[in-house]
């Protein structure tokens, strides 16, 4: 029997390879690509349950005049434009500091800064919600240090609620990105820096002329994954601010969830909104690739 199967696999090596990948391909098609097509069809429909029917481009017209969608889009972009660069610069800065061979307690610093990554998004969101509450520890601390006179409305003020979300995401993900930069830095040959030092290049110049260009692929990778992550923001806004106050921190993912499962279900319109994230992710990834390529 076994001999037969060997002979068969040698006769048909084409098929064996396809068999190895077949289950994964089927599952990805069934649970990613097929739903994507379904979502596209849904985005042209309206109604609920058995009443669902095609309406043409009505949902898309509604999208462009939808104030909540515009707010969610604006919020998501704000998180993206401020949070992602801050986090990437911070992670890069910390990893350059930690890459110094003469630095002590390196292992401790690295583990400590990476530690937030072991928390679940829901758990840390709940923790941040209480830490940043009106009578929470952060306000108590700032009041005692006389940094502020009145408690900051971290959760209930539209402006500060956004800041709280940004602080929270930065806390959770900076260490994660740092690990990627650290391992990339370890692959850079030290003699490049020595040569630069002999040529009299300052540490800042070394950073911009050597470190950043050599780390470009990794920076591109982390900025794309962070962008995709931020566009999918859900757990934090739901558990810290519930999208509020008003809709001040509502993200696109949360809006899709609300449209489908919280308000009167409108799967068709929810699918229309969801396609806007798909378009955004494709567009932004393309721009980031372009930007990285052009500045070479």
């Amino acid at each position: 029997m076994r001999n037969a199967s060997v002979a068969r696999s040698r006769l048909q090596p084409r098929w064996t390879g396809w068999l190895f990948i077949s289950i994964a391909v089927l599952l990805i098609c069934a649970f990613y690509f097929y739903p994507m097509i379904q979502a596209l069809l849904l985005s042209f429909k309206t109604g609920t349950g058995a009443q669902i029917h095609y309406t043409g481009f009505d949902n898309y017209e509604r999208l462009f005049s939808d104030k909540v969608f515009k707010t969610a889009l604006k919020n998501t972009f704000l998180f993206l434009i401020i949070q992602v660069p801050v986090m990437i610069v911070l992670a890069l800065f910390i990893s350059v500091l930690l890459n110094d061979s003469k630095l002590k307690f390196k292992g401790f610093f690295r583990t400590a800064i990476f530690l937030p990554c072991v928390t679940s998004l829901v758990a840390y969101s709940v923790v941040f919600k209480y830490l940043f509450g009106n009578d929470g520890l952060i306000n108590k601390l700032f009041l005692n240090l006389h940094l502020i006179h009145d408690p900051i409305q971290w959760i209930t003020d539209p402006f500060w609620a956004k800041i709280t979300i940004i602080i929270a995401i930065t806390w959770r993900w900076t260490g994660y990105n740092m690990i990627f930069y650290l391992s990339a830095l370890q692959n850079i040959d030290n003699s490049i820096y020595e040569a630069a030092r002999i040529d009299g290049a300052s540490p800042i110049r070394q950073f911009f002329k050597i470190t950043v260009p050599l780390l470009k692929p990794i920076i591109l990778f982390t900025s794309i994954t962070s962008t995709i992550g931020t566009l999918q923001l859900f757990d934090e806004v739901v558990n810290i601010t519930k999208g509020g106050p008003g809709n001040a921190t509502m993200s696109i993912s949360q809006y899709i969830y609300n449209l489908s499962f919280k308000y009167t279900p409108d799967f068709g319109y929810a699918a229309t909104v969801s396609y806007s994230i798909v378009v955004l992710i494709i567009l932004l990834s393309f721009i980031q690739f372009k930007a990285a390529g052009d500045s070479k």
């Binding site: 190895f20 990613y32 999918q232």
Partner: protein
């Protein structure tokens, strides 16, 4: 003198490490104190952990939620490793132009935001409820099935396969192993460390998954840990001691996995992009 020159660096790193660790200290101090002491700003660890734990288990089905989460995460991890490594191996070892095209198409699925496919997926599983209730809405299977295969993990195992010494396969073929035998008898045992890293990453993301279980699990006894914590956290009169005890317990498995297998963890994260 040298040490002195570095002091701004140390101060900066100490602040960064302190900010990173501080919420953990607060979780521990809150879980071990009475809620009233926590809201008064007490930071020292107290002796109320057991009381908090008792109140927590009286209020919610913690054990049930832990069991649900464990069941889902372990099954997801095993299935994910098996299917993704078979595929990653297949793409690399039986490489062909056509398969490379398929591979690149699969990678596109990484760009699909979950919120975009959530509604059709929910409809799909609602349909299953009528035909095959064991995988319908509100079952563990409905959480596991659409989430365990990820292009990321296939990509990861393909990258790992690149480092696999292919001569070993030829030797195995001469010994009369079937193609599937080569995979299970030679590839899997050789790549144990890749599997370890893949397991950690998959387990953690499954244990922490929130949005899809929130959509598909409806009855309280099916709830996973993140759903339970989210629920506790949204109560109007929160009991800090109880909630932080739940947060502490839910973080222990992932923290433990991280500390025991830190090297594998980092290797897994980084290996995936090399």
């Amino acid at each position: 003198m040298k040490m002195f020159k570095r002091s701004p660096i140390y101060i900066f790193l100490i602040i960064a490490a302190g900010v990173s660790i501080f919420p953990f200290l607060w979780i521990i101090s809150s879980a071990t104190n009475k809620s009233i002491d926590v809201s008064n700003g007490r930071l020292m660890p107290g002796s109320h952990l057991l009381d908090n734990f008792r109140h927590l288990t009286e209020q919610v089905e913690l054990g049930q939620a832990m069991w649900n989460s464990a069941k889902i995460s372990v099954t997801t991890t095993i299935l994910a490793l098996l299917i993704a490594s078979l595929a990653g191996y297949g793409f690399e070892i039986y490489r062909s132009k056509a398969k490379d095209i398929v591979f690149n198409i699969l990678l596109l699925s990484m760009m699909i935001p979950f919120a975009a496919i959530m509604v059709p997926l929910f409809q799909m599983f609602a349909k299953f409820s009528g035909v095959l209730p064991v995988i319908g809405v509100d079952t563990a299977a409905s959480v596991i099935l659409p989430t365990f295969t990820t292009a990321f993990l296939i990509f990861y195992f393909r990258q790992s396969s690149k480092m696999f010494p292919k001569d070993m396969l030829e030797a195995g073929r001469i010994d009369g192993l079937s193609e599937l035998g080569l995979f299970f008898r030679i590839f899997v045992p050789t790549m144990r460390t890749s599997y370890a890293a893949g397991a950690i990453i998959t387990f953690m993301s499954s244990w922490n998954n929130y949005l899809w279980p929130l959509v598909v699990l409806q009855s309280p006894e099916k709830r996973t840990i993140p759903l339970l914590i989210s629920n506790l956290g949204s109560s109007y009169s929160p009991d800090y001691g109880i909630i932080m005890t739940a947060v502490l317990i839910s973080t222990l498995p992932t923290a433990l996995v991280f500390f025991l297998m830190q090297k594998h963890f980092v290797a897994g994260m980084v290996g995936s992009i090399k």
